[in-house]
């Protein structure tokens, strides 16, 4: 059994987008990689909306479009502000998105992750499924030198452990590398998959071939909580879901299920799902704390990627691309250290953070670092008052009832002022601009 004592170059904990990206890049570069996944297969435990952003994956597997299981490429984005009966929409649709190498796709994670995992194995990594890493093993100096699993036997050693373990970061927590995720920094999202014939989907959303539509919605649908709803078109199904910050759920006592039922029955959503058959439901946590919630990312012998590092851009609904990018960058850091025969010390692994700072990942998260707190503190206005005011203004404006337009304008402004003081509105506007910059 001597060969088991030879340490791996790297152990990757988890087989989601970040773990697969990290394991793939390291294995492809010739490192001796072990990846450990608790699910029965990669994707069996993973939940997402889900949108795949091509760019991040293209940098890892350039020819992925030829083989990955993709549903539809997105040609239209609808942004909806909703009150109880209406939505005000901004839609952007462009034939430019029908390009040869489309930019965004809807995917089904169970299938996509399985494919990604098969690429990891092809690249030469050893992958263990149905095995849970329980804790990290350290030497006397505190450096992480391996992992223990829930299977009987000796610990497995490695020069570095890449923690791609997902939003909860349980291994990191148990090993004292990080705190528990704060309920204010994480959203709970629930979703359902509704099946429809592809012709129905195409007719209903004005699509042809593999074109797809994405709807992102905010407003009174979250009952005053910080959150958003979504609806994505897949090949023969529609993913519909909604999510809010966990601490808001605790405060309001609204259940995620009620929220989703109400969203599905909203007059703007209901006809889109008509006659469909719900075949699947799922729930997942999404790290939405942004820049300020990012835990310590590196230390002696360990490095954190993906959701475990809170790498989600909540404003733009991006996550899997940040996961793949952080996985890739971590892998490249480990590869270059291994090549130079350098130790995986805290100082050397800090190179990962330097590289991330230069990438869109940290730049974007930094840009929006004030947003989570701003929304949290003003959720009543942003997810209730303003959407309601907007709907009322639209209705006043578009309803033809013999009242002159000047009076209508005045009525709209009066409504705004009376509901939310001028100072209050200006203050919110100022805070949004400041948080956005």
């Amino acid at each position: 059994m001597g060969e088991f004592n030879k340490p791996f170059d790297a152990i990757v904990v988890g087989a989601g987008p970040s773990g697969n990206a990290a394991a793939y890049v390291m294995a492809k570069e010739g490192l001796n990689v072990l990846q450990i996944e608790r699910g029965e297969y990669a994707g069996s435990k993973n939940v997402q909306g889900a949108i795949l952003y091509a760019d991040a994956l293209e940098q890892i597997i350039p020819e992925f479009r030829d083989e990955a299981p993709l549903e539809r490429h997105v040609i239209e984005q609808r942004m909806w502000t909703m009150d109880d009966k209406s939505h005000t929409g901004m839609h952007y649709r462009s034939d430019d998105f029908n390009e040869e190498k489309p930019n965004r796709y809807t995917i089904l994670r169970a299938q996509f992750d399985k494919w990604f995992s098969s690429k990891v194995k092809e690249a030469g990594a050893l992958v263990l499924y149905e095995t849970t890493v329980t804790e990290l093993v350290r030497d006397l100096s505190g450096k992480v030198i391996g992992v223990r699993t829930d299977r009987q036997g000796s610990p497995i050693m490695a020069n570095v452990v890449v923690l791609a373990e997902g939003v909860n970061g349980l291994v990191g927590q148990r090993s004292g590398l990080r705190d528990e995720v704060a309920p204010e920094s994480v959203a709970l999202a629930v979703k359902e998959m509704h099946f429809l014939p592809r012709e129905t989907i195409e007719a209903r959303f004005n699509l042809s071939g593999n074109e797809g539509v994405v709807i992102e919605a905010m407003g009174t649908i979250t009952k005053g909580m910080t959150g958003t709803g979504f609806l994505y078109t897949n090949e023969e199904s529609i993913s519909v879901g909604i999510g809010c910050i966990v601490s808001d759920f605790a405060e309001t006592n609204v259940t995620p299920n009620e929220l989703l039922e109400a969203f599905k029955n909203h007059p703007s959503i209901k006809p889109l799902l008509a006659d469909s058959e719900c075949k699947e439901y799922a729930a997942h946590l999404i790290p939405e704390g942004g820049y300020k919630a990012i835990p310590q990312l590196t230390g002696a012998g360990w490095i954190v990627v993906g959701d475990a590092g809170q790498f989600v851009n909540a404003v733009h609904r991006e996550g899997s691309n940040l996961a793949m990018t952080t996985g890739r960058v971590a892998a490249e850091t480990v590869v270059s250290l291994t090549r130079k025969r350098e130790e995986m010390t805290a100082a050397n692994l800090a190179e990962y953070e330097k590289r991330l700072a230069q990438s869109f990942v940290m730049k974007d998260l930094k840009k929006y670092k004030g947003i989570p707190e701003l929304l949290h503190k003003n959720k009543g206005n942003f997810f209730g008052t303003y959407p309601r005011l907007l709907s009322q203004a639209m209705q006043t404006w578009f309803r033809v009832d013999g009242i002159d337009k000047v009076s209508k304008e005045k009525a709209i402004f009066r409504n705004f002022r009376e509901t939310r003081s001028l100072w209050g509105m200006m203050g919110d506007a100022f805070r949004v601009v400041r948080a956005w910059r």
């Binding site: 072990l34 169970a110 050893l126 095995t131 299977r151 009987q152 497995i156 099946f195």
Partner: protein, 285 residues
């Protein structure tokens, strides 16, 4: 001792979806598992290995992706995995399957030693025929013990084995000579969780892969669809029943509740009431 366990990769019936539009089974994306009955067979083999020392070979016939199931069998502690795969085997019924597997087993005997015991599950969850095990035993001229719930004793020196067999109306205790093919009954044991070493060995292991030619099959008309006299004529989804079950709620003592139930039945089906009254008038008055 050499033990071979024949397993089959099957779609996870708990996760099969029927296409809502075409009513056909959606195989794509449905996870596959080791036929659950075969796990009892594998665990029994591993217990014999622990007790008496043995080499355990797992064998399956299927598409190249069936290697996943073999690898999983290795994580439980099997020593060697053999995959019999060839496009000529596609569409095999139980006759063609038992032929191909028996040829593979002859090759296993040549390469790795003659197995004293061949284990299988009592049947698969996708075919439910329970014919392949006995078919193999017949073709290899092995004694066969089906629906076995317990191995009582294995006497290697004496070349015999004693088992318990669940039969209608009781439990049979049977003794027979080795070599033997045993099909295991469900709930006869519980599959273990393999150690981390087993998991690593499995992830690294090469699956021995043979095609029809490699196992010496010359007459390809005995294989696959051509060698299968069983024909699936039609697959259909049963139509959903329109009538719904109803729960009758009633308060009070047992006889009051029974009366309420009878009343509810009579209200729904007056013919039942009149029939019963007629019957009573004829026989009891």
């Amino acid at each position: 001792m050499h033990i071979v366990v024949c397993i089959k990769q099957v779609p996870d019936s708990g996760q099969i979806r029927v296409h809502p539009v075409t009513n056909t089974i959606m195989r794509q994306g449905v996870p596959t598992i080791i036929n659950p009955y075969d796990l009892f067979a594998l665990e029994e083999a591993l217990r014999l290995k622990d007790k008496l020392g043995a080499t355990v070979t797992v064998l399956t016939m299927g598409p190249p992706t069936a290697a996943d199931s073999l690898r999983k069998a290795l994580t439980f502690g099997a020593d060697r995995a053999v995959l019999l795969t060839d496009r000529y085997f596609a569409g095999s019924d139980t006759l063609a399957t038992s032929f191909a597997l028996s040829m593979a087993l002859k090759k296993v005997a040549e390469e790795f030693g003659k197995p004293e015991i061949i284990f299988t599950g009592k049947q698969t969850i996708d075919g439910d025929t329970a014919q392949v095990g006995p078919g193999i035993a017949k073709r290899l001229d092995y004694n066969q013990l089906t629906y076995i719930s317990r191995i009582v004793e294995t006497d290697l020196d004496g070349g015999k084995i004693t088992v318990e067999r669940r039969a209608e109306g009781g439990l049979q205790v049977l003794e027979t000579k080795l070599p033997v093919l045993i099909t295991m009954l469900e709930a006869s044991n519980e599959m273990r969780r393999g150690s981390i070493e087993n998991a690593l060995i499995a992830a690294r292991a090469d699956v021995v892969t043979w095609n029809a030619e490699a196992v010496g099959i010359e007459d390809l008309t005995k294989c696959g669809l051509r060698g299968s006299p069983t024909i699936v004529k039609k697959v259909f989804a049963p139509t959903a029943r329109t009538e719904k079950a109803e729960i009758v709620e009633a308060e009070g003592k047992a006889d009051a509740r029974a009366a309420a139930l009878v009343e509810a039945i009579f209200a729904k089906a007056p013919a039942v009431e009149s029939d019963l009254l007629e019957h009573a008038a004829q026989h009891y008055v």
